[in-house]
């Protein structure tokens, strides 16, 4: 008898993704699909795809998905969840979408304690538009709009979203993970599981930040990019649980 140990989750379509080699999005898509399958919520899940590289996520997820205007995912998620409270609503957002143009929507949805799940893929760059500086670009990191490296005195230091949201009393779960290797992928899966389960149990707002590689615009080889994620990125964005079951977790 053959035993199947690894197969495509039902929540993923069989469409090959358009992502660059070494990109983190494919992994995050798969982890979300696995969690949705495991929780048995595929037929009641509604996803929100951002503007950015992941806008085409709706071709890869095998459940209902809508687009949102750049930065407005959390507002769109609010509008869906409030009228369909028994559906599972999550937004999938990049750093420019969530932390720059959509910062107000992000903070206010979290502060209202909307019962939604926000998946934040932080790779320190705008990917789709060609590698511009993001709110999370590291100091000194070269991008197409910070050609000499991010200069903190004139461009500001990177925004730390988990820390920022952790100042609010309402969120139920806040966690940062890093896709820097198999152990990091497993932790990311666990974090997503906790976040979706929190929503399923009507506990409130859950936020998972996933540090991810973008070899193309981090200007690194795929292997170097993974080291960058687990090294310099993780040094700037500490990988840990910030909020668990509604309570702040000390570092």
């Amino acid at each position: 008898m053959k035993t199947v140990l690894y197969k495509r989750p039902k929540s993923l379509t069989s469409v090959p993704t358009h992502y660059c080699p070494g990109c983190g999005h494919g992994i995050v898509h798969r982890l979300i699909a696995e969690v949705v399958d495991e929780l048995g919520i595929r037929e009641r899940t509604i996803g929100i795809a951002p503007v950015g590289c992941a806008v085409l996520a709706y071709f890869y997820f095998n459940f209902d998905v809508t687009e949102a205007a750049h930065g407005r995912c959390a507002a769109v998620a609010t509008g869906i969840k409030r009228v369909l409270p028994d559906r599972i609503v999550f937004s999938y957002q990049g750093d420019g979408d969530l932390a720059a143009i959509g910062l107000a929507e992000t903070i206010h949805a979290a502060n209202r304690g909307e019962n939604i799940t926000v998946v934040f893929v932080n790779n320190t760059v705008y990917g789709m538009t060609g590698g511009q500086m993001a709110p999370t670009t590291l100091v000194g990191q070269k991008t197409s709009t910070s050609p000499d490296g991010r200069d903190a005195p004139t461009m500001g230091p990177p925004l730390r979203m988990c820390e920022l949201l952790n100042t609010l009393p309402s969120p139920y779960h806040i966690e940062r993970v890093a896709l820097d290797g198999p152990a990091g992928v497993r932790k990311a899966r666990n974090a997503l599981m906790k976040a979706f389960r929190a929503q399923l149990e009507n506990k409130g707002y859950s936020f998972v930040e996933i540090l991810a590689s973008c070899p193309t615009h981090q200007r690194l080889s795929p292997a170097q990019a993974l080291k960058f994620v687990g090294g310099e990125m993780a040094a700037q964005f500490p990988v840990r649980v910030f909020r668990e079951e509604g309570k702040a977790v000390n570092a």
Binding site: R42, E43, R44, T45, I46, A49, V55, Y58, F61, N62, F63, D64, V65, T66, E67, A68, A69, R72, A75, V76, A77, T78, G79, I80, K81, R82, V83, L84, R87, I88, A104, E105, I107, H108, R112
Partner: protein, 353 residues
């Protein structure tokens, strides 16, 4: 009740599931009313963090197949244009109320009609139209808001109720007709892919020729709306010396003036567009064809005036009386203008004899 309250009550009776708003004068009474009445009925009320957030919450509720409304006034409606373009692109029903105030910029809080171009000619990016309804009484604030929900669902298109600060604040008796409006089935909505293929809502179409085909389909829809949804009112609009064209607050003033003009022997009629998009071009042209001249009265520098000229197409001279920046035409100044026109038309007809 006030015009703003009438809008809110009509939305509730039309089965509005969710209202999202952000404070701005002179339409705050709508949000206040919704805050009192929506949660009590188990419906959604959120004071959003911005007009952008509010229109995108509307987007979300429309995605979910439920009825949603947002309201604002001119500067806030400018912020909503992004969302309206996305709603149009994704073909989502939504009701947007603009209780106009003076502009540009922060302007003032006095009534105005200077958002006509924005409402009727686009506002946001891309080739799209929203249906625009212009009430001229508190009763119509109620009736047209209820109608807006039906039209939005029927055409899967955003609908704007274009009002102004005077109509929003004024009090008039209203008959609260029972609203029978119920949403049609929405098999396209995102409700979870139970027993069906996943639904997708988007306005990004990257495939070769895909977006052009989408636009052509949208244009066919707009042509259908143009044929079926023109609304207007005529009063003594045939064979008049002066045909006054006005909507909203200006139409109320024009009605009084048209009646008063009879005292000095002028036959003045009124043509009042109720749907500003689709604009009733043909009925307007028909009415103008029997008039000696046309006078457009607006609280703007002459925005609807352009559509009137398109409609009249040179069949009669078109004159304009406009006030800006929150100025409202007074009956006296409209009558003075009518007297002056009376002299010109008489001279002209004598000349023809």
């Amino acid at each position: 009740m006030t015009g703003n309250d009438a809008i809110a009550e009509a939305a509730i009776r039309a089965g509005c599931d969710a209202y999202y708003g952000y404070p701005i004068t002179p339409q705050n009474e709508i949000a206040n009313y919704m805050a009192r009445h929506m949660p009590a009925r188990g419906r959604v009320f959120i004071q959003a963090e911005s007009e952008l957030a509010a229109i995108n919450m509307v987007f979300g509720t429309a995605v979910a197949g439920r009825r949603a409304m947002t309201s604002s006034s001119s500067p806030g409606v400018s912020l909503k244009q992004e969302g309206i373009s996305y709603l149009a692109g994704a073909e989502l029903p939504a009701v947007i109320v603009n209780v106009q105030r003076g502009g540009p910029g922060l302007g003032n809080i006095a009534p105005s009609q200077s958002d006509y171009f924005q409402a009727v000619k686009g506002g946001g990016h891309g080739d799209y139209h929203q249906i625009v309804l212009a009430p001229h009484s508190v009763q119509e604030m109620y009736d047209l808001t209820a109608l807006a929900f039906d039209l939005a669902d029927r055409y899967r298109n955003p609908v704007m109720v274009l009002s102004d600060g005077r109509l929003g604040q004024m009090m008039e008796p209203v008959t609260l007709h029972e609203v029978r409006s119920r949403p049609p089935p929405k098999p396209w909505a995102l409700t979870g892919a139970r027993g069906r293929k996943p639904n997708l809502i988007r306005s990004l179409l990257l495939g070769e020729g895909e977006l052009e085909r989408h636009n052509l389909r949208l244009q066919r829809k707009y042509a259908r709306i143009s044929r079926s949804e023109q609304r207007w009112e005529e009063r003594n609009a045939r064979n008049c010396d002066v045909l006054i064209v006005a909507y909203g607050t200006c139409a109320r003033i024009a009605k009084g003036c048209a009646a008063a003009a009879a005292d000095f022997g002028l036959k003045a009629g009124l043509f009042r567009p109720i749907s500003l998009w689709p604009f009733p071009y043909r009925p307007m042209r028909r009415a103008a064809s029997s008039a000696k001249c046309v006078l457009v009265v607006e609280m703007s520098a002459g925005q609807m005036l352009e559509d009137v000229r398109l409609a009249v197409a040179g069949m009669a001279p078109v004159f304009f009386l406009g006030r800006m920046g929150g100025g409202v035409p007074e009956e006296g100044e409209v009558l003075r203008r009518l007297r002056a026109l009376a002299k010109t038309t008489r001279r002209r007809s004598h000349g023809a004899e």
